[in-house]
């Protein structure tokens, strides 16, 4: 991964408590998995930012190697990768996602 791509990713992660790398944007998700993930975050009142990986092939490839995770979407809380669509869905069902978000925003 080129240094500027890594710096870009790390910069965005530092700036945003909750950052979601997705296909498309929250209004117009370009993939069912990204859509499902956004719907879960929309059910909370916490702010989140998104990055559209379709707009930048370098970020799209870069984020996969950054997190060692082969698919999009990818959700980061406090700069830490917490999961893709399946894991977020499961965490949400178990009530764990609410706990993680609360802990992050209570700090």
């Amino acid at each position: 991964m080129a240094d500027e791509v890594l710096a870009n990713i790390e910069g965005q992660l530092k700036k945003n408590k909750v950052l979601i790398f997705m296909k498309g944007n929250p209004k117009f998700p370009q993939c069912g998995f990204s859509d499902a993930t956004i719907r879960i975050f929309e059910s909370f009142d916490y702010p989140y930012e998104t990055v559209d990986v379709l707009a930048d092939p370098q970020i799209r490839a870069g984020i996969k190697s950054y997190s060692n995770w082969p698919t999009i979407p990818q959700v980061f809380v406090d700069g830490k990768f917490i999961g893709g669509c399946d894991i977020i869905r499961e965490m949400h069902e178990r009530g764990e996602l609410a706990q993680v978000l609360k802990a992050a925003f209570d700090k």
Binding site: F33, N68, W69, P70, T71, F81, I82, G83, G84, C85, D86, I87, E90, M91
Partner: protein
């Protein structure tokens, strides 16, 4: 496209003694739902468990022979609790 049997044999090599359930969601051979129950998942978080499965299927995912993979992982203990 990939045959479900190939997914199974690939996973069994990396995760021996697992119980694996594979569903071809569309019948097209590239959208799958996979459940893996493995004792090797014991003590690991979900991210790490999924990374183990993705790692095993790296070639098929990278070449887009598998286009979409809905994944569920659990330990035999978690699986046992589900039934009770």
């Amino acid at each position: 496209m990939i045959n479900p049997d190939e997914i199974r044999s690939t996973l069994e090599k990396t995760l021996p003694d697992s119980t694996i359930n594979i569903q071809d969601l569309t019948g097209g051979g590239d959208h799958f739902q996979v459940l893996v129950i493995s004792p090797l998942f014991e003590g690991k978080g979900l991210v790490e468990q999924h990374q183990m499965v993705y790692g095993a299927l790296k070639e098929a995912l990278g070449s887009e022979r598998i286009h979409a993979l809905a994944l569920k992982t659990m330990t035999p203990e978690q699986w046992g609790r589900l039934g009770s």
